[in-house]
């Protein structure tokens, strides 16, 4: 789960990370009021779950409250990578001397949380990583001990020669690590970590991504979710316990298991079709999940044929069959459907489907080819 910059900053402040003051505004007048309260030049920053906000024109320097109001008017409602800006962060504009990068991420390769730090921070950090990897220091953390003070100091001295600045950075990294663990993050980063002309080390931008598996035991973090910043179909799918990603094709896919779902999409493409979505109904099934899945898929006007591919293990294929029957009785389908199912309770499922006028295949390739033909208008 993504959270906004202002939410990440609120969390980090609680751990002592020095961050310039700021508040979030939903209207231009609110932005004006916050800028007046801060009493100095401010930055107005779009709060959306997308990178490259600055390059898209969603981050502006405002010397006065009137300019803050004007820029907020322009940014609010702006579209950044398909997301509408609903709120802006109005925050004191820092005096920037140098910009460093500090990030921590769960890494598949080392199977640990890994710190990455670089003195060459800022918006081009990915370019730095690609062209001058020696400018980035990687440090895997043993979760049993956390980030020890000496490790934090090593990283601090990698960033700054000045002892005071190295120590300040080391403190910030230990605070960041603790926040990363306590909030259940899969990623947390400060970019840039700034040294001001007077020598203070402060965090000017922050990002956190929360591991979805943590949300059940961290209600305060779960409450930070901003549904207005997600696609409505994906919000609906999550509430129905389905994993759904909308794509641009016309074959609507309902599959159990992520690997099989991806392989099904690949096969649709292999036979000359285009998948309309990724949809995983998950391991354990009940008819209601199938009803929800069909509702979400048929809401997409691009879908010209629906393909079910179910390999029953934990998932009972009769549950899926009952779901299809229930859903289509309530809302008759306007597009053709191809059903492939095999595995647990297959005989019962096939009988249920046949009694209700559906046919079922047990062969994946056959079903996919048929769905692709039908989506192209074939008979």
């Amino acid at each position: 789960m993504n959270i906004h910059e202002f939410q990440a900053k609120d969390i980090l402040r609680r751990y002592g990370v020095p961050i310039p003051p700021g508040e979030v505004a939903r209207t231009a007048d609110e932005a004006h009021a916050i800028a007046t309260k801060i009493g100095k030049a401010v930055m107005v920053k779009a709060q959306v779950h997308a990178g490259g906000r600055g390059k898209a024109g969603g981050v502006k320097f405002c010397p006065t409250p009137d300019v803050a109001k004007e820029k907020a008017t322009a940014i609010l409602g702006m579209d950044i990578k398909g997301l509408t800006v609903e709120q802006v962060l109005v925050t004191e504009a820092a005096d920037i001397g140098t910009e460093a990068y500090v990030g921590i991420i769960v890494d598949r390769a080392t199977k640990k949380a890994v710190f990455m730090v670089s003195a060459a921070g800022g918006i081009d950090i990915e370019e730095v990583a690609a062209t001058t990897p020696e400018k980035i220091k990687y440090h895997p953390v043993d979760a049993r001990y956390g980030l020890r003070p000496y490790e934090a100091m090593q990283l601090g001295f990698f960033l700054y020669k000045d002892v005071k600045q190295a120590k300040a950075a080391a403190n910030i990294m230990r605070q960041l690590y603790q926040a990363f663990v306590d909030a259940g993050c899969s990623l947390a980063e400060i970019n840039p970590l700034v040294v001001t002309p007077t020598g203070e080390v402060i965090a000017v931008d922050a990002k956190m991504v929360i591991d979805d598996n943590e949300l059940d035991r961290k209600p305060a973090i779960a409450a930070l979710r901003d549904e207005s910043s997600e696609a409505p179909s994906e919000v609906e799918a999550r509430k129905a316990n389905l994993t759904f990603i909308k794509l641009d094709g016309n074959v609507g896919c309902v599959v159990n298991g992520a690997g099989l779902a991806m392989a099904t999409m690949d096969l649709v493409k292999y036979y000359g079709g285009e998948p309309a979505n990724f949809l995983d109904i998950g391991g354990s099934s009940n008819p209601e999940k199938v009803v929800n899945a069909l509702r979400i898929i048929t809401a997409d006007p691009n879908v010209k044929a629906i393909l079910f591919n179910i390999f029953g293990g934990i998932t009972r294929t009769d549950d899926v069959a009952n779901g299809i029957v229930t859903a289509t009785k309530a809302n008759p389908l306007k597009v053709p459907i191809v059903i492939r199912l095999t595995g647990t309770n297959e005989e019962i499922a096939v009988k249920i489907l046949q009694e209700n006028g559906f046919s079922a295949s047990s062969d994946m390739d056959e079903a996919v080819q048929r769905a692709v033909e039908l989506a192209k208008g074939g008979k």
Binding site: G103, I105, V106, R108, G257, M262, D266
Partner: protein, 290 residues
Amino acid sequence: MAVFIDKNTKLIVQGITGRDGSFHAKQMMEYGTQVVGGVTPGKGGMKFEDKVPVFDTVEQAVQATGANASVIYVPPMGAADAIMEAAAAGVQLIVCITEGVPVLDMTVVRPFVIEKGARLLGPNCPGLITPGESKVGIIPGRICTPGPVGIVSRSGTLTYEIVYQLTRAGIGQTTCVGIGGDPINGTSFIDALEAFEKDPKTKAVCMMGEIGGTDEQEAAEFIKREMKKPVVGFIAGQTAPPGRRMGHAGAIISGSSGTAAEKIEAFKAAGMGVAARPKDFVDLIKARLA
């Protein structure tokens, strides 16, 4: 012979009285797995299905039964502790089926399990099966048949699909191993491939990967360097949209790696057969067994 489990494996089930645990304990017993005990705190002294003793702790279960393997069906927030409890009790093979385990829990669990000298499979995996001998986990027994092919996979139902197609074509399996798809897991592709290379009954291996990460590329390096047995690979997600960006850190640590094209290239460079679709495994494996 087979890898990781065989007819002598003595298994306990953690969470045996739960909904999933009890259902799959029965299935495993019907398949012929030696289920020697179960663990549910507070239900010690009970008998599951009138014959399998239930204990309060893994330690008690291991002492009383001599179990050397455990399978875990406990809710996600308790899974990390269940794995550590099994490792601390001296269980050698721990299979965690539970889906949704917080990844930061695994950063603590993994070094603990390694220190105890145990092997962990999963979490979020379908387990493993040595056809005709033993099954630990949730892979449907009837789609498998004994034979010379080792299977290792990151996904669940996709594995079933491919095993089913092999079985229908008359190609049997030594052991099918589902390593799970979580970012931090116990057993890697390389661990399983190493075991198959050493197993005299395994003549060829099928490996099913997915987009994301570099596990498959590392496995391909290992195959090129260390394996004499033929391996056929498949990558799911060739048409999946690029994953959502995870800040700069995701891009910095993985660079451009993780695409299906890159993984398939690595497979080819390692001299592996590459299945374009699941059904292609059948012919590719037949050719390598001939």
